[in-house]
Amino acid sequence: MDFSLSEEQQLLKDSITTFVDKDYLFDIRQKNIKTDLGYSSDFWKTFADLGWLGMPFSESDGGFNGGPIDLMVIMESLGRGLVVEPYIPNVVLAGGLISRLGSEDQKKELLPKIISGEIQMSVAFSEPQSRFDLNDVITVAKKEGDSYTIDGYKAVVMNGPSSNNMIIVARTSGNQLDEKGLTLFIVDPTLKGVSLRNYSNVDGSKASEVTLENVSVPASSLLGKEGEAFTALEEVIDLATLAISAEAVGIMEKMNEITLEYTKTREQFGETLSSFQALQHRMVDTFMAYEQTKSLLLMCAAKLTDKSDDSKKAVSALKYQVGIAAKHVGEESVQLHGGMGVTDETNIGHYFKRLTTIRAIFGNTDYHLKRYSAL
């Protein structure tokens, strides 16, 4: 039994950590999230140049054959830096679906551009009523001759505003909750009938509400087989759940460090906050919450790597734990900072906000507890 990283993985970790510590400064991040783009295209270029965007893709697709453990290493390190650049929407979600389902032409057309950072993509899977259920899709696509007509509404599409292409999940057959009958389309958001309402999320990321009205797309925009998208979609969202859980683990580790440091310097009643036993115990508890989550993260990454039978269950166990720990660590870190914890100028509050949105992304504790019980 060995929980340690390979030499390559350690190098990857070191390289991202160096970037985050040296270049990805909090003040720069805060400036970037206030721009229209919402992140730095220069940093995105750096990600491409250093090979991070190509990590999970096969060598034949121009990538580095990385697996779930590499993805975990990347996201944990990016989490520590509170990196807002849209790694998950591009590489894990869109890239994951294209590499799994794409035709040779689609892969050749899109994957090199994702890996080089040339294009931005997103996957529109959630709808106002669907909450976290991937099978719950009302948006419909009807086949008419050699094309499809899409009508519907997609909610809170991550990285929607920057996207040159969107992968839309639509229903080509079956009822609202059926797993069968889901189909993916690669849609150019400038097409007639597609309208985007773009906005910022509280964590600094960007998203869109997407309305599709009578949108006509050629059959060539179909990604994978008609009606058969669910399995790949679930698999990709599971991998993205691992990725965002790793991000959360990185964030929690960093928040615990920042908070511990703060309590060692902040004095009240003539002593540092860290000298009060009541507060020491609470920091021990947040530290344990982090450790417990890290353990499940490693377990889950290993099971996904082995394509283990119970890997779905492992994903839900992990995300449930992330939800519990994120609330605990996030809220306690702010509390231990006192008033400073709720100010916009201090970084801890921004880590807290990202940790809070992660609680819901790809399913909250209730959703994953139910999924765990059902599997």
């Binding site: 309402r197 009240q268 509390q335 709720v342 819901a360 209730d366």
Partner: protein, 397 residues
């Protein structure tokens, strides 16, 4: 034991309810019900409506314009205000500075300051916390040095709520450096228009501007603005902490909000049904409601003891802890109810313009509220300090 209201109390409840129904301006109600931030003018308009009716300074002695209501009546009144979702009354003048002035002030000070508070002509803010003095309030460093018939004040106050609206600030200042830090503190009233007073906003993680830094740079304050004696400031501060402790848990507002969340669960679509079909979510809502019931009856026990002439003791720290726990817990449940739709960020300006909301109508201020409410376990004596109070004063350890 009889836990119901008397006939007379019920009649009073009707009177309050119909007064609010008849006099609560529709425009302000609309803002409050739809999560649009209310302006300074809105708050003043509503407070003046209550003043005119004689229902503003309800806790003041009648001779200064109070109501002479029983403890139960005050409780009913506050419940009805919260139930109708009226703007929270700004406490700094009417609940804090006013009582200090009528308790410790000279006749001249009472004549000068109390009418401005009760008529809502003067907006007060509170100058207690300093950058280095949060939980350890007595370590405050703002200095007031006597210079003839004036004090010269230098220092920095922080977390000053709504200082941007304030005409006056009541401050704890150090008039003497002593071995025991609680000594040498004085209670001083400062006109915010005095040269040397500067207010700088502190933006909080929800993106709002509610609190401020207040810089005091060689501010010349007439000595007649000192309340009580020099060095009596800490006693006054302790008086204030013990005063007005009921209602601190915000229980009436919690009851309204939990009712609203329950309604929302029948409106929010989930699959082919509604959020109310989600057992795990409803379990959490019901658990929180039970916890709230316990807090409500704890508060009623305190009220009953007070109506028999008792004083709210350190037990009110329990209400502060439980009330703020519940406020935070409920704000989090609202976030959970929304799923992804809790994430879009609406700035204060977006909310005021009330255009282009994303997701369900009520969604816009749910996350800001959750984020903003991290403050409630920090302010007003952090919940850690409240636990110290209970340990020391109630459990005797």
């Amino acid at each position: 034991m009889n836990l119901s209201f008397s006939e007379e109390d019920l009649k009073f409840q009707d009177e309050v309810r119909s007064f609010i129904a008849d006099n609560y301006p529709a425009e302000i109600k609309n803002k409050m019900d739809n999560g649009i931030p209310v302006s300074k003018d809105d708050i003043l308009t509503w407070q003046r409506i209550l003043s005119k009716k004689g229902w503003f300074a309800i806790n003041w002695p009648e001779e200064y314009g109070g109501t002479g209501w029983s403890v139960t009546q005050k409780h009913i009144f506050q419940n009805e205000l919260a139930d109708a979702n009226t703007p929270t009354l700004v406490p700094f003048g009417v609940s804090m500075c006013g009582p200090v002035i009528y308790t410790f002030g000279t006749q001249e000070q009472k004549d000068r300051f109390l009418p401005g508070i009760i008529n809502n002509d003067v907006w007060w803010c509170q100058g207690y916390s300093e950058p280095g003095s949060g939980s350890d309030l007595a370590s405050l460093k703002t200095k007031a040095v006597k210079d003839g018939d004036h004090y010269i004040v230098n220092g920095t106050k922080t977390w000053t709520t709504m200082a941007q609206h304030a005409d006056w600030i009541f401050c704890l200042v150090r008039t003497e450096t002593t071995d025991i830090k609680q000594q040498g503190i004085s209670f001083l009233l400062i006109d915010m228009n005095t040269p040397g007073v500067e207010v700088k906003p502190i933006i909080t993680i929800d993106g709002s501007h509610e609190v401020n830094m207040v810089y005091l740079d060689n501010v010349k304050v007439p000595a007649e603005n000192l309340i009580g004696e020099e060095g009596a400031g800490w006693n006054i501060a302790k008086f204030l902490l013990a005063h007005e402790r009921t209602g601190i848990g915000g229980i009436p507002a919690l009851k309204r909000e939990i009712r609203r969340l329950r309604e929302i669960t029948s409106e929010l679509p989930l699959g082919e049904g509604f959020l109310k079909d989600d057992d795990l979510f409803m379990d959490k809502l019901n658990k929180l409601e039970i916890d709230l019931l316990a807090a409500e009856y704890s508060e009623l026990r305190t009220l009953a003891a007070m109506s028999k002439g008792g004083h709210p003791g350190p037990e009110s720290s329990i209400l502060k802890i439980k009330g703020t726990d519940l406020q935070q817990g409920l704000s989090d449940l609202f976030v959970e109810a929304l799923g992804y739709y809790a994430h879009p960020f609406m700035s204060e300006d977006d909310l005021i313009s009330n255009e282009g909301r994303i997701g369900p109508d009520f969604a816009a201020n749910v996350m800001p509220h959750y984020l903003n409410y991290r403050k409630v376990s920090i302010y007003g004596g952090s919940n850690e300090i409240q636990r110290n109070v209970i340990a020391k004063a109630v459990l005797g350890i």
